[in-house]
């Protein structure tokens, strides 16, 4: 039985959803998983991860972004120009990559200046170091502290340590539930498909966390009870690379004879692997900053952390008993393109079957794409 029509999982197939539509709290959009969600939550905001689900062309956005920018970001801009993101009461951007960080200016100069759009949407930016050092951490902590002060001013709230501690608990619980479900993918007969796992991660980033936790508990029960999937004729794949926000993509991979048993994606394991330390004597804000800054696995934007990312990948290959690795990047994504280039060589040196492809965010030539993936899967013994 596939759960893709489960009311919670199907949140992943569109942008607005019933849990945020009727909510009294302010909903704020963020582009990157390096934005401290716990802090936003403690300011009584609902963080919503911006994505491009369902967008099929970028005609409007193409006026403002040149053709060699990432089609994921262009698609989000297209949706914003169509008014899909008008429900946002705030926008959070950081310098995660060159494409997405410029959304700070383009939302300000174009999206929010659209005719007929009269809402004042506050925007926030944090500058994140590109290397992992003690000095870099201090800088990052400074940015997060400043963000806290700005949130208090702009949204007229008080973010107390108690509130932060509560949200840390809420988010740690959320990550734990996600990990428990994701671990069921490691089994010889996994309890969920890669597509279901992706839908879960997307839905989880689109609703208030207390609702997400309730739903994850429900689904954990269902997955545990469910019979393992029959995957005898399928290859166990680890999926790595650029953002995937569209279940059609994973469905395509899985309908080609694969099951995605693990990933290193930002709608996936990148955000759930580590918790915030609850026992430390440090302030809650410091603990939030520490987890995020030193997060493992990191994004390729962390220039000096490729080796740790490789270790993560090697570890996933082992624990999920992976047959092959699918490296993918959205065309023009330099960060994942280069990280994948190194992974390809490093994994081949370890005799791991690996396939490296580029794609567009909205894939129109399914057949050609599928043929290539099938050919790769055939090659795996």
């Amino acid at each position: 039985m596939q759960l893709r029509d489960d009311p919670f999982l199907s949140i992943a197939n569109k942008i607005p959803n019933k849990y945020i539509e009727n909510n009294k709290r302010n909903i704020v959009g963020y582009y990157c998983t390096y934005i401290p969600e716990e802090l936003l939550e403690a300011a009584d905001l609902i963080p919503f991860r911006i994505r491009a689900t369902g967008n099929e062309d970028t005609n409007k956005a193409d006026t403002y972004m040149v053709r060699f920018t990432c089609s994921f970001v262009r698609s989000t801009l297209n949706l914003a120009l169509d008014g899909v993101y008008d429900f946002l009461d705030g926008l959070f951007v950081c310098n995660s990559c060159d494409h997405s960080r410029r959304m700070f200016e383009i939302f300000d100069m174009v999206v929010f200046k659209r005719e007929g759009f009269n809402k004042n949407v506050p925007r926030f930016y944090i500058a994140i170091p590109h290397i992992l050092t003690e000095e870099g951490y201090q800088w990052f902590y400074g940015e997060i502290s400043e963000l806290k002060n700005n949130l208090e001013k702009v949204y007229n709230v008080k973010i107390s340590d108690d509130k932060l501690n509560d949200t840390i608990k809420l988010y740690n619980r959320n990550r734990k539930l996600m990990r428990e479900i994701y671990e069921l993918r490691n089994l010889n007969h996994p309890k969920l498909t890669g597509t279901e796992a992706l839908q879960l991660a997307i839905a989880n980033s689109s609703v208030p966390k207390e609702i997400a936790n309730r739903e994850l508990e429900r689904l954990l029960g269902i997955f545990r009870e469910r019979e393992g999937l029959n995957i005898d004729d399928k290859k166990r794949i680890l999926l790595i690379g650029s953002v995937v926000d569209n279940a059609k993509f994973t469905e395509l991979v899985e309908s080609s004879g694969a099951i995605i048993v693990s990933d290193n994606l930002c709608f996936g394991k990148k955000t759930i692997m580590e918790d915030i330390d609850s026992n430390s004597s440090k302030s809650p804000l410091e603990r939030i900053a520490k987890r995020l800054y030193y997060r493992n696995p990191s994004c390729p934007r962390s220039m000096d952390d490729h080796k740790r990312r490789l270790e993560f990948v090697k570890n996933q290959i082992k624990i999920a008993n992976v047959d092959g690795v699918l490296l993918q990047r959205i065309t023009n994504c330099d960060l994942h393109g280069c990280d994948n280039m190194l992974f390809e060589h490093e994994l081949k040196e370890l005799d791991v079957p690996v396939f490296n492809i580029d794609r567009e965010n909205f894939q129109s030539d399914y057949t050609r794409f599928q043929t290539r993936i099938e050919a790769f899967l055939e090659m795996i013994r």
Partner: protein
């Protein structure tokens, strides 16, 4: 004090691309000196000489066994003079060779492409990466800041994969006082780290001397910029390209100062006589971003065939601060950081683009520009959403048009010179 090749007992010098630069720049200089009459492309004559001298010294020093340090163009070469070393600019070498070699450096781009380096990643790094893969370069260490773009922090880990130690001073993508303090500290820590790798103590007194030369260069550059307000502009288009090369290859050396001083004299003479270069100046253009590097003859084409002055490109209007070398080390590094973060391309990349747009509008007015030409380089994603907004600002606030050309400034196969010329030609007809 020795480089890896000497330490490992390898006698063959692994600086082949630099020798290629030396040979090609040497023959270019000889050729232009011999065939061009006085007054023609003077910038090329004196610029080629400056670069040739610097590269010759580098090759000799490497042969003596000094460590070879690769650096990003955005890491100021003069800072490396705190060591006895041979600094080699990664981006500068790729692009100078792409300009000088008849077949460009496409062969090395292809080497990297087939190794898996994405086609859309900047060719300025791809060239030297390909040469390194082919074992033509051997670096003892590489230093790069974490700017100006994704390409930088995506591509440079390749060198680490090739066992070259990488030193990375981090740059914040934010222009505030605290950013200069942070980056200043990063610079100091990085130079100390680099010193440990090559077995040398950084000599900051020595470095100051080279920084002082750059301080002097700065004021000559500003004078030259001022002269370009004149109609007709007394500066030839080729100067822009050559000065970018000299800036990268000869930074912090007397050769660079000499280049600018000599050219200032030439420009002043033309200015006094209201004399222009090439054909009558009919269109005054500003290129807020880069020129193309794979075919420098475009500069002459614009001057002579179209009568379009390129008043300046990004490397020629955007000068960072001077550095106070008389204060304590904290002041020195703070100023060095400010200089680094305001270096052409670094400034635009580590800052929101509002100041860039305001600056362009102001420059258009101050320099009586008739149009802008924006070279939208395949690698530079940080500028992917700027062109249209800039075009609208120029149209609304100054009433001038902007041509946007998608290209790869280092690879003629992406958009050829012919297509570029055709586009500019057609555009110039709408401007006149």
């Amino acid at each position: 004090m020795t480089n890896r090749n000497v330490l490992s007992g390898e006698t063959e010098n692994k600086l082949i691309p630099y020798e290629m630069v030396l040979n090609s720049i040497g023959s270019t200089r000889e050729l232009v000196e011999r065939i061009l009459p006085k007054g023609e492309i003077e910038s090329l004559k004196i610029g080629a000489k400056a670069i040739e001298q610097i590269v010759r010294t580098s090759v000799e020093k490497a042969k003596q066994g000094l460590p070879v340090i690769g650096h990003h163009f955005a890491f100021q070469r003069e800072y490396l003079y705190c060591f006895d070393c041979v600094p080699i600019c990664i981006e500068g070498t790729s692009y100078l060779l792409s300009a000088l070699l008849p077949d460009g450096v496409e062969r090395f781009y292809d080497v990297m492409l087939s190794w898996g380096h994405p086609f859309h990643t900047c060719t300025s790094q791809k060239g030297v990466m390909g040469m390194t893969l082919e074992d033509l370069f051997s670096f003892d260490a590489i230093i790069t800041p974490t700017a100006p773009c994704d390409n930088t922090f995506a591509s440079y880990p390749f060198f680490e994969y090739k066992d070259v130690p990488l030193v990375i001073p981090d740059i914040p993508y934010l222009h505030e006082e605290k950013s200069y303090e942070y980056y200043g500290e990063q610079l100091r820590l990085s130079l100390e780290k680099l010193g440990k790798i090559i077995g040398q103590e950084p000599d900051f007194e020595k470095m100051k001397k080279h920084i002082e030369i750059e301080n002097q260069v700065n004021s000559v550059q500003l004078e030259l910029l001022e002269l370009r307000k004149a109609k007709p502009s007394p500066v030839e288009n080729m100067f822009n390209a050559i000065s970018a090369g000299v800036a990268v290859f000869a930074s912090g050396t007397p050769e660079k100062l000499d280049f600018y001083e000599k050219y200032l004299e030439i420009a002043k003479k033309r200015y006094k006589k209201k004399q222009e270069y090439g054909k009558e100046e009919r269109i005054r253009s500003i290129w807020p971003y880069m020129l193309i590097f794979f075919d420098l003859s475009l500069c002459e084409y614009l001057d002579r065939e179209i009568g379009m002055s390129v008043l300046f490109d990004i490397f020629n209007y955007n000068f960072s601060n001077t550095v106070n070398t008389k204060g304590d080390l904290d002041t020195l590094f703070f100023d060095m950081a400010r200089r680094g973060m305001n270096f052409p391309m670094m400034k635009e990349s580590t800052e929101f683009y509002y100041p860039f747009i305001e600056n362009c509008v102001q420059l258009a007015k101050d320099f009586s520009a008739d149009c802008f030409v924006f070279t939208s380089h395949l690698g530079c994603k940080q500028f992917g959403s700027v062109p249209q907004v800039l075009r609208e600002a120029l149209r609304e606030e100054v009433g001038i048009p902007m041509l946007i050309i998608d290209l790869d400034v280092g690879d003629k196969r992406f958009t050829s010179t012919k297509i570029i010329k055709d586009k500019i030609n057609m555009f110039s007809k709408t401007v006149l």
